[in-house]
Symmetry: C2
Subunit: 216 residues, 2 copies
């Protein structure tokens, strides 16, 4: 929706940022002065409790906005690079300016906020009401959905710990659910950092609450 000549003017307002693996570029609670758009890589967003408990609130990939979630107490989450990340940074104070120049941007941001809200509510259902296996099935499907090419085998460049902190589980439970789904023939784990969804339909059924008879 944004043409090439727009892109030049847009570039004037954007600050390009390269972030290396495991580096945080946005911190929970800090004044929300900027927001970001991912151009390359994957980032994870999370919140921490004083005692170290962690909840990953989402993952961001190219095209996603980061930093829309903010209240009086600043950014709602910390954002950290998963591998090398490239992004654009905008000033919130210039948001008005930006929106006046790029009316399309307004729609894009609102649409992004809407679908992020919808995703957040879906995640509430996951965290509040789904079993561990349902959670993992839901996660794998949504991860595929956000992959550009929706093939059966996809990269999964995050650790079990990250998945656990996203799903409100422990790494052990996540691992057990992986093996459970594998034994049920719904997925395969060809290599570390990769998953194959063998039976997406059945997986979707599991994600929505259907029981699986074998190896249940």
């Amino acid at each position: 929706v944004i043409g090439p000549e727009d892109f030049v003017r847009l570039s004037a307002l954007a600050f390009r940022l390269d972030v290396s693996d495991r580096q945080a570029f946005m911190t929970e609670g800090e004044p929300a002065e900027h927001f970001f758009t991912m151009t390359q890589g994957v980032a994870k967003l999370f919140k921490l409790m004083p005692d170290g408990r962690r909840q990953i609130t989402g993952f961001a990939r190219p095209g996603d906005f980061i930093g829309l979630a903010a209240g009086v107490s600043g950014y709602a989450s910390t954002a950290e690079a998963v591998g090398a990340v490239r992004l654009c940074r905008f000033n919130r104070s210039q948001l008005r300016l930006l929106l006046d120049d790029f009316p399309q941007m307004e729609e894009a941001i609102l649409a992004a906020a809407s679908s992020e809200l919808a995703a957040a509510q879906a995640q509430m259902m996951v965290l509040g009401r789904k079993t561990s296996r349902e959670r993992l099935a839901t996660f794998l499907l949504s991860w595929r959905g956000s992959e550009s090419q929706e093939t059966a085998t996809m990269p999964l460049p995050i650790t079990r710990q990250d998945i656990a902190d996203y799903l409100g589980l422990t790494i052990e439970t996540v691992s057990r659910c992986f093996t459970g789904l594998r034994h049920a023939g719904l997925i395969a784990l060809p290599a570390p950092g990769e998953v194959t969804l063998l039976e997406p339909t059945q997986l979707a059924a599991v994600a929505e609450g259907a029981a699986i008879c074998p190896a249940d």
Copy 2:
């Protein structure tokens, strides 16, 4: 931020809606043609699974927007009146028109979306990582925060079932946590449908993970 003469023009675009107790006025999965602003009462938003499991994704009160959360599959949640509710309905298709006429509205909507996103992420932490007691403490404090007058004793016009479905617990666990907090001297339950926060500071400590020694 919206003046009286603006209000008249705004009224032309808004459709006033009265909803009675337990009536749904927005349904999960339906095309997101409208969005709403609450003017009176309380509404609850929730998602359902095929087998009946329910997750309340939020509560709305006067001034809140409803229906911002929407994706390709329509509204993210169902909205239902808790008691009598009065609201304004806008067409999403006229959103552009609306925003052109009321630039302040734009800021308001973006700010609302931002803080809703922040609240959603906070709720993810609640659902994914907090214990039952921490969840209830968090809920009581946030409920007070959204009450107009922040007195110690406040109305709580929702059932235990609603609280349970909001916190990802069962009514029994919610009830037990109420009793636990009462015995710990942090809250009082003067009458059905009312709570008194006796020790907001300690309650906040509990919500953030501090243990309580007596009656723990």
